[in-house]
Symmetry: C2
Subunit: 243 residues, 2 copies
DNA sequence: CAGCTTATTGAGCAAGCGATAAATAAAAAT
DNA sequence: ATTTTTATTTATCGCTTGCTCAATAAGCTG
């Protein structure tokens, strides 16, 4: 079978790390020098998020400084080591973006289940399906940092397990207190979660063209998922109850 | 609201890049020196795949050589530059793993649609949901290489678009020649695809514990997806036909 | 203006990087 | 056994990297 043109032969690399979406000029063109301490620190962190998202943690401090319009040794006045700067990037990026109200939305039974799920996932996607969040999260995952494990454990315990409980209630299946949420069940929740996250991966990691507005896609995914869920869920709970 | 223990405060990094699954000893303990040219080249490529999967392309040639039980300059006897070695890694990892028969499986209408999808995705997952494939693919995506874009374009044109056509046929909807596959429709295919890929991301990138056998999970995902699909698909084609 | 504080810079070190060239030694050829 | 070939190593170059420290200059206080 002859190969057509769109195959993978002749693989070559491209030295173009995906540029950030908004071409914000390197932060300061004729940067006003001698800023107050707090202001400078803030700018460094913001610039570092942008920079590390683009280049990864192996990005060099000299180039980061160049983008910030400052010299490299100044970075070390504000952060004793590069690792300390990276830690601050994590703080600003992950810890601050978690919304405890999400858990309440999911459990709010005054709303139908699809509305709750759509509300949560649209807001969640708006929070984390961004250039900086997605790329830094993946860079840190590949580097083997434990933040990813911790963050996803949070997602599992605070979101997915609760979703499973609400589905049980919605479809008239045994309460989790009577029959604990099983692994296969939880994997269904991970599947929907992965489908939504993969939107961001396609766009921000692989640079693929993706519909600009994620919301209708998320709603469609949830519709399909919920329409197909009860059959499988009933089968799974039957299996588990039988043991 | 007081924070519980499993939150994200006190983020710290961990200097442990996720180790490969099978602790294959560094390739050669008391390595028989002076290998024939082909054999040595083969070992270098295999070792490089393992090494770059773990450390990324910024992994140093000296450490790669150390794992291979050879000295660093010897690498440059076989590959003129580090980039040339990386290109060979791509060839071995991506080009060789594409199975043209997959496209035939999907279009084989002598089998029911769920059987076809499960057969393809289980085989596809067995091929690419591996430590080396997933990690190198993500490293190269983050680095901005064009392989990812090319590979996923292949997936879209050779797999997902065809799946959409088969769904149309399955549910008695207009043929793609009469009404072309729409964007929203294709996004549903990406959703299922993403749900399955995300299994590998969770495990090999983030180091999360995931059920060992992916097959039953993939089957469940497809069952839920197919059960929920016809309603949404009918609505989408109605919308498109109305324009 | 003088004097003090401190944000910022210029110069540079030690270690690590990809890559090179000549020297060595193991296998093959004569 | 001697020569030829070549897989492999030793030593090193030029450059980059994270990081340091003394010098500079901008702003505040009197």
């Amino acid at each position: 079978m002859p190969r057509s043109k769109d195959d993978l032969s002749g693989l070559r690399r491209k030295a173009a790390p995906m540029p950030p979406p908004e071409g914000m000029p390197p932060c300061e063109p004729g940067a006003a020098r001698r800023l107050p301490k707090d202001e400078r620190e803030k700018r460094i962190i913001e610039g570092a998020i942008q920079f590390f998202a683009e280049r990864g943690f192996e990005g060099q401090t000299r180039e980061l400084a160049k983008r910030l319009g400052i010299t490299q040794p100044l970075l070390y006045r504000y952060f004793p080591t590069k690792d300390d700067l990276i830690d601050r990037v994590y703080q600003d990026l992950y810890v601050k973006r978690w919304q405890p109200v999400w858990e309440e939305w999911i459990l709010d039974r005054s709303q139908p289940i699809d509305r709750r799920m759509k509300r949560f996932y649209k807001d969640y996607a708006a929070s984390i399906l961004t250039y900086e969040w997605m790329r830094i999260f993946l860079y840190s995952g590949l580097a083997g940092f434990d933040i990813n494990n911790r963050y996803l454990t949070l997602i599992r315990d605070r979101v997915l397990v609760k979703l499973c409980g609400e589905w049980r209630h919605e479809f008239g299946l045994p309460d989790p207190t009577a029959l604990p949420i099983g692994e296969a069940e939880l994997e269904l929740a991970w599947a929907l979660h992965g489908a939504i996250i993969y939107l961001g991966i396609r766009h921000f990691i692989y640079g693929l063209k993706v519909p600009r507005n994620f919301d209708p896609l998320i709603e469609a995914d949830i519709d399909v998922f919920l329409a197909g869920l009860p059959g499988k869920l009933a089968a799974l709970t039957r299996e588990m109850a039988a043991e």
